[in-house]
Symmetry: C2
Subunit: 220 residues, 2 copies
């Protein structure tokens, strides 16, 4: 089986037909997310925390306060796992056993590198801000020296990654499909998506300030 990367832990073993091996698909799934789940090992136990991220080519950037225990642990040359998941639908099957979700999920393994080069730190922070709020890097005030000093930036190569995707209708047993008419059971997919609502201005903002285009244009 072809994989996105050659290591055993980034090779999808469970339901391998759901594995995708196109690197541009991996990028698309990462770029479509706003929050990843960062996994670390702290005192021998796993810790999973939500956090923002950004991507430049085949590098994922993470950031956090230099005071955060999780960031300090991740910067210690120890392995992390970053997972980005989109839920696309609830799959209603004829049997509860075959109930499922449609989803896209990217899993990245690796040892992050603490970014020390000033230009790369800025580029990484920009990628993180722009992934969450495209247009903000130009619109908002940029980071000053003090803010930069308080922020740690980590880089994680996308070398060791896997992508799993489920799409389409339920996959039921033939006997259950044959029972459709007598049982009258419904089966299919309920699509799920994430939408943006009406922007809520900061209460301190002068009332005359128009909603910036890069914000207002995201409304669904």
């Amino acid at each position: 089986m072809t994989t996105l990367s050659p290591t055993p832990r980034s090779t999808v073993r469970r339901l391998p037909h759901r594995a995708r091996t196109d690197r541009s698909e991996l990028h698309a799934v990462l770029d479509a997310g706003m929050v990843c789940h960062l996994g670390l090992v702290m005192d021998g136990a796993p810790v999973v925390l939500p956090t923002g991220y950004g991507r430049i080519d085949d590098v994922l950037y993470l950031h956090g306060s230099t005071g955060a225990a999780s960031l300090r642990a991740a910067a210690r040359n120890e392995p992390v796992c970053v997972t980005v998941t989109h839920v696309d639908g609830v799959v209603y099957a004829r049997s509860v056993f075959h109930h499922s979700m449609n989803y896209r999920s990217a899993v990245v393994h690796g040892v992050p590198r603490l970014v020390t080069d000033d230009a790369e730190r800025l580029a990484g922070l920009r990628a993180i801000v722009e992934n969450m709020s495209p247009g903000s890097w130009e619109h908002a005030r940029g980071p000053n020296r003090k803010e930069l000093a308080a922020t740690a930036v980590l880089a994680l190569d996308l070398t060791e990654a896997s992508l799993k995707v489920r799409t389409g209708p339920p996959l039921d047993d033939d006997e259950d499909v044959a029972d459709d008419v007598p049982t009258g059971r419904w089966s299919g997919v309920l699509p799920v998506r994430t939408v943006f609502g009406e922007p809520v201005p900061c209460p301190l903002l002068p009332a005359s300030t128009p909603v910036a285009g890069h914000v207002g244009d995201r409304r669904d």
Copy 2:
């Protein structure tokens, strides 16, 4: 500081004013989710995978194929971390440094227990199915002996858990707020929510089958 649970790792240290200590709020955040991120340690490295879950009182149930390496690892009396995150808004601040997300995030630590009692296994599976697709347990065909044998059910106590919530407008520096008029920068929150679309019937379903109420009523 009061905590939901008394251990150091379930005490929120970073931005502790965002910590919530009401157990019913923890339950509400868990119940509002469909997918958790399950963290395990495998071969010394963290692995984070999305999976369904359900809750009964102060127990979280997880399930999976008895053939899945992650479930086997989680059933080995080893610690896991389960995180459920809702993104509620993108917080646009005057500075990129204060950009943030509004979110609710529950983090549960513990060593899961492999459920062996038949009644608890069924109750756990029911909780998982009903959390993802309320009403399906009654509507769809229940699990048969073979399906039950292929499914492992794990129970994780909610004893050691933390809940972190951010709400409200951006928190900017006074100097940046004072610059509002000259800069014309917009600041505020873009709400984010998850919605359900129009149900898509299984292509094999007879066209006359009406959409079941427990599915159709979820549409936004």
